[in-house]
Symmetry: C2
């Protein structure tokens, strides 16, 4: 039986995401990055995070290909952290976290800021839409099917339970 830190045996794309995204600080660092924060001092000030913890988390996010570093000053050398394409692709995850937190937090903890969709000009939140037809994805209209690569059909199709 593999240890709990090695999740690759789960053979699941959610498990692939978890080592980096199942971490409180990483999520908050990513939130800041999406708001435009790029520099160590600015992350540190905004989050009130210990410097050694921030440093270790930024290293992890660079190693995971979510941030790339870019030097913005050479004497002394200083670099900033920029989202890569892989990092920018976490937008829908952060939108989902925002929406859920906003819907279920007690009123006094809700975010007073609004997210505006510039294309229509209205306050918005994420709705999960189908990449093929654009219709809404709901638990009741999704089914998980074994892929073609699965040779041994050990389990039948699994309907996402209602």
């Amino acid at each position: 039986m593999p240890g709990p830190k090695d999740l690759t045996y789960l053979g699941c794309s959610i498990a692939n995401s978890v080592p980096i995204l199942g971490d409180r600080w990483n999520i908050l660092i990513l939130r800041d990055a999406f708001m435009g924060v790029r520099r160590f001092e600015d992350f540190q000030t905004d989050l009130g995070i210990a410097r050694n913890i921030l440093s270790s988390r930024l290293d992890d996010l660079v190693a995971a290909g979510i941030f790339e570093t870019r030097e913005y000053q050479d004497n002394p050398p200083r670099h900033e952290y920029r989202l890569t394409e892989k990092g920018k692709d976490l937008m829908d995850l952060l939108l989902a976290l925002w929406r859920w937190g906003d819907r279920w937090a007690p009123p006094e903890l809700r975010d007073p800021r609004k997210l505006i969709h510039l294309d229509c000009g209205h306050p918005t939140q994420i709705v999960a839409a189908c990449a093929h037809c654009g219709g809404e994805l709901k638990r009741s209209n999704l089914r998980i099917e074994p892929g073609l690569e699965v040779v041994e059909a050990t389990s039948s199709d699994t309907q996402v339970p209602a």
Copy 2:
């Protein structure tokens, strides 16, 4: 300065989500719950997680209102963990984790299973759509605005950086 575990000072709905969702095991437990797992032994078998850790995580998820317990046997008493409405509302978050893990994982780690949208019959993944107009939400078409409840306007509107 508040300690790093008290994130309420961040005044942000993402920070509200983080204490529960910024945890590797909680995400995997939720994934299993969405696949239909409800019982302690089944979570334990599927995840290979230590029993005391699983027990503590399930307690946290119940305390957070994401699971509710229901007795399925009374002698000896046994209960199962069912997603509440608040828990079911995490669907888009899990879809976003799946999509991202699937897109960016090395091929040998990708999930061979497919998610089928029953309304159109095609393999699908999540696209972030606007709750108002249905258009796609992208970094380039979103802006964050201070809400009405913000009295002191310390920051101007923040454009989500491209």
